[in-house]
């Protein structure tokens, strides 16, 4: 195994454990990992943007291929930065106008076509049945349920008339459809979060092997010892600023004084 791979495994295992230490409570290991992540991801993004945007999409076309009109886009980009100079910050509006104008012009027709017209067509078409299919099959039942769902949810979000009588009943059915949607969404979200946990555990198990110098086990022991010492010091010093709440907190007493 190469040294770089070994170092990478130790760094990955250490940082994963630092982040997981938050589950005990907010602590210096977690804050170290958190700040390092923000810094490194920003640094990586800047480097990639420099090569992929500034060099590949601006410098090379302008200098090597003579496409001077690329400078117009660069100028518009620079105008956005005038937001930092109050006296000429109005210039940034030119760039924003181009961005909004171009973005809307490109997006509106395409989104209306694919997210509204084709969805309406897709909702209604199966009700009529396809060639060779029975007119009253399971596909039609599904399509009918979808149609009921679409209409009742739209009724629920229609606030121009009072929800009474049949409108109230339809809106009520719409709520049930929405609840089913939220439930499915929540189920998938749980699945996604568990997948992320499995991914990290998978790596931690790999890095706990002899091949990687028992990185996970050694670092787990070190972080546990570090947390123990940190707790002991904090308890020894009256009025310590550490957050004693288990599971961490989104409000850090030391951060806002």
């Amino acid at each position: 195994m190469t040294t770089s791979l070994l170092i990478g495994a130790w760094v990955a295992a250490g940082l994963t454990l630092c982040m997981f230490s938050f589950l005990y409570k907010d602590n210096p290991f977690f804050r170290f990992g958190e700040h390092l992540y923000v810094g490194i991801s920003m640094g990586y993004t800047i480097v990639r943007i420099y090569y992929d945007v500034m060099v590949k999409s601006l410098y090379a076309p302008v200098i090597q291929e003579g496409k001077w009109w690329f400078l117009i886009a660069a100028l518009l980009g620079l105008l956005v930065l005038t937001r930092f100079i109050p006296a000429i910050s109005w210039l940034s509006r030119i760039s924003f106008a181009v961005i909004v104008g171009f973005g809307s012009g490109v997006a509106i027709p395409r989104i209306i076509s694919s997210n509204i017209l084709q969805q309406v067509q897709g909702t209604l078409k199966p009700l009529l049945g396809n060639d060779g299919q029975p007119l009253f099959g399971m596909a039609q039942l599904n399509a009918f349920l979808i149609l009921i769902g679409v209409i009742t949810v739209l009724v629920y979000f229609f606030f121009s008339i009072e929800h009474k009588g049949p409108i109230h009943a339809a809106a009520r059915i719409g709520i049930y459809f929405l609840m089913i949607n939220f439930g499915a969404g929540f189920g998938y979200t749980v699945m996604a979060r568990m997948s992320l946990l499995i991914g990290r555990f998978d790596d931690l198990i790999l890095f706990a092997s002899r091949e990687y110098g028992y990185a996970t086990l050694v670092l787990l022991g070190m972080i546990a010892f570090g947390l123990f010492m940190w707790e002991r010091n904090a308890n020894a010093v009256p009025g310590s600023d550490q957050d004693s709440r288990p599971g961490g907190s989104d409000v850090r007493p030391h951060a806002d004084g």
Binding site: Y24, I49, Y188, L197, G199, P246
Partner: protein, 293 residues
């Protein structure tokens, strides 16, 4: 009953963290091998790639970064293995700048496993700024959107891209996405206008939102989350990290379902006033707060 409910509601949430950790760790160390059923939406992606003749152009857009790696990386591995096994011409790219290094690693790594040569059998175009606009640009002229590939080679000179001037010559596009730009962008700005077939591979969080596109045929298949990746690994006969993780996934789901049922049981069996008093106890300043917000 009220005492038990009180104890459970006041339980240190770190106990739940430990239970989840155990439910994840034990199946990873001692796999059970629970059966995995193949869903039609995943099979549709597999069948479409199977139906492509040798030399067809397959574009895999890896629109995710390391934050979504556990779900989407196994999908990328499985799809690339399938494509290389079928001798398709593979084009890799990304619309997310922070995913560039990881995307390059998986494309070149799987290609070398199958003895494929860069530039000849596959190309990795890398990242180009603009998000959804890159798709429009690729639809008009591929060489304008990506004048050079990730390694600085002129795309017009790459043998693997001979005859491919825009997205119109691409047979199948799959976007592996964790958000925007992603599958929807590829449909809205690409497929509808340039006529290629489109499939999606997404994180479980955004999968429910794409089912309407699947039902209308706007995408021809959908691989959702780690579960979808596991199904695809089974279809190609190359069990990997996704299949290995499915037992753990099932175990944690059982545990969470159990906890939800328990909470609801307590809620319905305990007088509401009592629940409220536990609630006020929870809001004390020294009470456990939700982690990871």
């Amino acid at each position: 009953m009220r005492d038990l409910a009180g104890k459970l509601l006041r339980m240190d949430r770190r106990i739940i963290f430990v239970l989840i950790a155990l439910a994840t760790l034990i199946p990873l160390l001692r796999p059970i091998g629970l059966p995995i059923r193949i869903s039609p939406e995943v099979k549709q992606v597999y069948d479409y790639i199977e139906s492509l003749p040798e030399g067809s152009v397959f574009l895999l857009s890896l629109d995710f970064d390391p934050a979504s790696k556990p779900e989407l990386y196994p999908m990328a591995v499985a799809l690339l293995k399938h494509a290389f096994k079928r001798d398709l011409r593979v084009i890799g790219m990304t619309l997310l700048v922070t995913g560039t290094g990881m995307a390059e690693k998986v494309v070149s790594g799987i290609a070398s496993e199958y003895g494929k040569q860069r530039g000849l059998d596959y190309a990795f175009l890398g990242y180009s700024p603009g998000g959804s606009n890159v798709i429009i640009n690729m639809g008009q002229d591929l060489a304008t959107a990506f004048p050079t590939d990730h390694y600085g080679e002129r795309t017009a000179d790459l043998p693997v891209l001979q005859g491919i001037t825009s997205l119109r010559q691409v047979n199948y596009v799959i976007s592996l996405a964790a958000g925007t730009p992603g599958v929807e962008s590829w449909y809205v700005y690409g497929k509808e206008k340039y006529g290629f077939e489109l499939g999606g591979g997404v994180t479980a969080v955004i999968a429910p939102g794409l089912y309407p596109f699947l039902n209308t045929g706007q995408i021809n298949g959908l691989i959702g989350g780690l579960r979808g990746a596991a199904e695809y690994e089974i279809l190609i006969g190359a069990k990997g990290k996704a299949v290995a993780g499915m037992d753990a996934q099932s175990a944690t789901h059982f545990l969470i379902i159990g906890l939800i049922l328990l909470c609801n049981l307590i809620y319905f069996l305990t007088p509401h006033a009592a629940i409220r008093s536990f609630g006020s106890a929870q809001s004390r300043s020294d009470a456990p707060r939700e982690a990871g917000r």
